[in-house]
C-alpha cells in the first residue's frame, strides 16, 4: 500500500479541561489504551496531551488507510494503540522556529506507537512540543525516507491554511527531492497528490496557526 498520513494539533485550540474529562476521552481512547498512559512520565506528557497524542496518531493512521479504503469510517476507539514508547529524551520540545523541516524522525525525541486498525498494523512517530502535537503514520516501522515540515502561520482562516500548506509543501518537495516544477492536486476522495508523481504519497494537515506536510520518497 503506497500511502502516508499525518495530523497536527494546535494545543491552544483544544480545551484542556474538557480533554481530561472521561466523557470526552472515552470517545477517543478505548479501555486498553487508558492503561498505556500509566507507564508514561506525566512530566513529559499530561493526560490531556496523551488524549491529543492518541487523537493525532489515530487520525494519521485513518488518513493512511483511507487512501486505498475510501469507505472506512473514522471511529477513533476502533483504531487501537497497542504499544507506545516514550522518547529517550525526557523533556518537552519547544517549537521556537517559524518552521521546522526534516527528512526522518529521531527516536530520541519522538513517541513511537504501534497501532492496529481493521486487520492491519501501522506505526507512527509523534513529536510533542509545548504548543503542538504532530504525528505521521506508516505501514512499516521505518521512517527514514519520510520527509516532513511544520510551519507557523499568522492567518488561521481555512483559505490561508490551505494556501500556506500547499506553498510550504512545494518548497519542501523542491528542497528535499525534486527540482522540477510540480503541482499539487486533490483527489476526488480528498487526499492531496503530486501530479505525475504518484509514487510519492503526500499528506497535509492544519490546525489553528500551524500547517504541516509529510511525504514519502519512492512510496517505499
Amino acid at each position: 500500500m503506497i500511502s502516508i498520513g499525518n495530523d497536527i494539533i494546535a494545543l491552544e485550540r483544544t480545551n484542556a479541561a474538557r480533554s481530561k474529562q472521561e466523557k470526552f476521552y472515552s470517545k477517543i481512547l478505548c479501555r486498553q489504551e487508558n492503561a498505556l498512559f500509566k507507564n508514561i512520565n506525566s512530566d513529559i506528557l499530561s493526560i490531556e496531551n496523551f488524549v491529543w497524542l492518541a487523537w493525532s496518531v489515530k487520525e494519521s493512521v485513518y488518513k493512511f488507510y483511507t487512501r486505498t479504503n475510501q469507505q472506512a469510517l473514522f471511529s477513533p476507539t476502533k483504531i487501537v494503540i497497542q504499544k507506545i514508547k516514550a522518547p529517550l529524551q525526557q523533556e518537552i520540545l519547544e517549537f521556537d522556529n517559524a518552521q521546522l523541516e526534516r527528512n526522518s524522525f529521531n527516536n530520541e525525541t519522538c513517541f513511537c506507537c504501534e497501532i492496529q486498525f481493521a486487520s492491519d498494523i501501522f506505526y507512527t512517530r509523534t513529536l510533542v512540543f509545548d504548543d503542538i502535537i504532530f504525528s505521521v503514520a506508516n505501514n512499516t516501522n521505518c521512517f527514514e525516507n519520510i520527509y516532513w515540515g511544520i510551519k507557523n502561520i499568522d492567518d488561521d482562516s481555512y483559505e490561508a491554511q490551505s494556501a500556506a500548506v500547499r506553498e510550504f509543501t512545494l518548497k519542501g518537495l523542491n528542497k528535499f527531492l525534486l527540482s522540477e516544477e510540480l503541482t499539487i492536486e486533490k483527489s476526488l476522495f480528498g487526499y492531496p497528490f503530486i501530479s505525475k508523481q504518484n509514487q510519492i504519497p503526500l499528506s497535509f494537515t492544519h490546525h489553528g496557526n500551524y500547517v504541516a506536510y509529510s511525504f514519502k520518497q519512492n512510496g517505499k
Binding site: R13, T14, K27, P76
Partner: protein, 85 residues
C-alpha cells in the same frame, strides 16, 4: 421535535466551530461538517458532546462514527431522543 427543529438546534451547536457563517446559515441535510463547514476534525468530539448536552442524550461510538454531515447527525439525535421516550 421534527427534523427541521433539530437541524435548527444543530446550527447553534456547530456555530462555535465554523468560521463559515454563510454556509452555516444555509445549512441543509447534505452539509458536510468538514468539506462544507470547514470544521477541523479535532472539534468533532466537541460537537458530539455539545449535542449530547443540548438534547440530554448519549451518543455511543457506533452512532458517532455514522455522523459526517448535518443529515446523519439529525438521524442520530432523533434515534437517541426516540430511545429515551
Amino acid at each position: 421535535m421534527n427534523r427541521q427543529e433539530i437541524l435548527e438546534g444543530l446550527k447553534k451547536v456547530l456555530a462555535p466551530y465554523t468560521m463559515d457563517k454563510d454556509v452555516l446559515n444555509s445549512i441543509n441535510e447534505e452539509t458536510d461538517f468538514i468539506k462544507d463547514l470547514k470544521i477541523n476534525s479535532a472539534n468533532l468530539v466537541d460537537i458530539i458532546i455539545d449535542a449530547e448536552e443540548k438534547y440530554n442524550i448519549e451518543i455511543d461510538v457506533d452512532s458517532a462514527e455514522r455522523i459526517h454531515n448535518a443529515g446523519s447527525c439529525v438521524d442520530v439525535i432523533m434515534e437517541k431522543l426516540n430511545e429515551k421516550n
